[in-house]
Assembly symmetry: C2
Homo-oligomer: 216 residues x 2
């Protein structure tokens, strides 16, 4: 699997930047990730993290000196490294196709990228949650995401539109429809605890978007 290794590589790079991490610290990060996703950041205590990680509470604080720093350590690589890298990669992949049709584009987006979203679902859920609650984080995310979309997704859309394959709406609106459709379907599948529902529905999503974004 090309995309699989791509995702793993991107993660590995993001992790490598943080040098050697001892086993127990990894357990702390893993436990935090799981608990923040399950219960939310504010509803998770450092005692719970220590318990699930199987370490003493002091260990939780050895590397990251506040609970906030722990959250940042989990979200930062996703926001700053992983998403942009994979976005760019996807852009190249699609651009290489000589005759990009709207349907091909959507198919690629929904299988390739949705798989990635699914793989990082816990981080994304935390992100969603904290964005609703914290003004500063929301501002940061929007600030980070805007140029990533503009530089990687928008050129693809322009390309499609020029080929007479895409409706003449502003790029941010089209992105909104794309991202919104994928996210709400993913969200629902995840809230119901059944991830396979989403995969089964991808053909419908492609159909829906294919019609909805067709030129006049």
């Amino acid at each position: 699997m090309d995309k699989q290794t791509a995702i793993q590589t991107a993660f590995a790079q993001a992790m490598a930047a943080t040098e050697e991490i001892p086993a127990k610290q990894k357990q702390v990060l893993a436990a935090s990730l799981a608990l923040f996703a399950e219960q939310g950041f504010a509803n998770t205590t450092t005692k719970e993290i220590a318990e699930r990680a199987g370490v003493a509470e002091g260990t939780v604080y050895r590397r990251y000196h506040t609970k906030e720093a722990l959250l940042a350590a989990l979200l930062q690589p996703v926001v700053r490294q992983v998403v942009p890298t994979l976005m760019r990669e996807f852009a190249h992949q699609v651009m290489q196709q000589t005759y990009p049709s709207r349907r091909q584009f959507l198919q690629a987006l929904l299988t390739n990228r949705a798989e990635f979203l699914q793989g990082n679902w816990r981080e994304i859920k935390i992100l969603l949650n904290e964005m609703l609650v914290r003004d500063d984080l929301r501002a940061t995310i929007i600030q980070e995401a805007t140029p990533v979309l503009r530089d990687n997704l928008y050129p693809l859309l322009d390309h499609l539109r020029q080929a007479g394959e895409l409706v003449a709406w502003p790029n941010d609106l089209v992105s909104q429809f794309l991202i919104g459709t994928v996210m709400t379907n993913l969200l629902r599948a995840n809230l119901q605890g059944d991830l396979r529902t989403f995969s089964r529905r991808i053909p419908y999503l492609v159909d829906f978007l294919d019609r909805g974004l067709a030129p006049d």
Copy 2:
């Protein structure tokens, strides 16, 4: 405005059920609503509520004896009374039209109901937030919402489909696309703090959904 009064009436009814509420208690409810929406339930202290409401902390506890009960008092009427009532009302309204076209249906849904969503946005934001975090609440909401959709929205969709106006997809999938498109656009407009963006975009949403849900 017919819908305006309808919304106000529904609220009045929901409020009337809770009998006479003294002024300071209303201030407490209003302050809680605002703060929960701004900062999230877990990040809001009862001291903050008291301060914003301009009352003593003891007053916060006079009627609702826990912070949880305060949350329930805010969300319960929306979930159990207001939404179902207005949903039913909308259903009747649309059903009365002799020749319901897909476009008419969408137009009505997006202006009429989106206005309601916008009016209750703070409650909905809290609802979204807590659904992501609390398993029990999520289960309750889904349990409450399912029959409301099935009894009020699904018949409309069946009606449209029979008239050859709607794609032959399962009702829950079509609802997903409808609700998802509206909610994500509302969410974005609200996160950016610009509510008018949403109204301005309604024609695009109608177009998008009109194409996306057209029969083969």
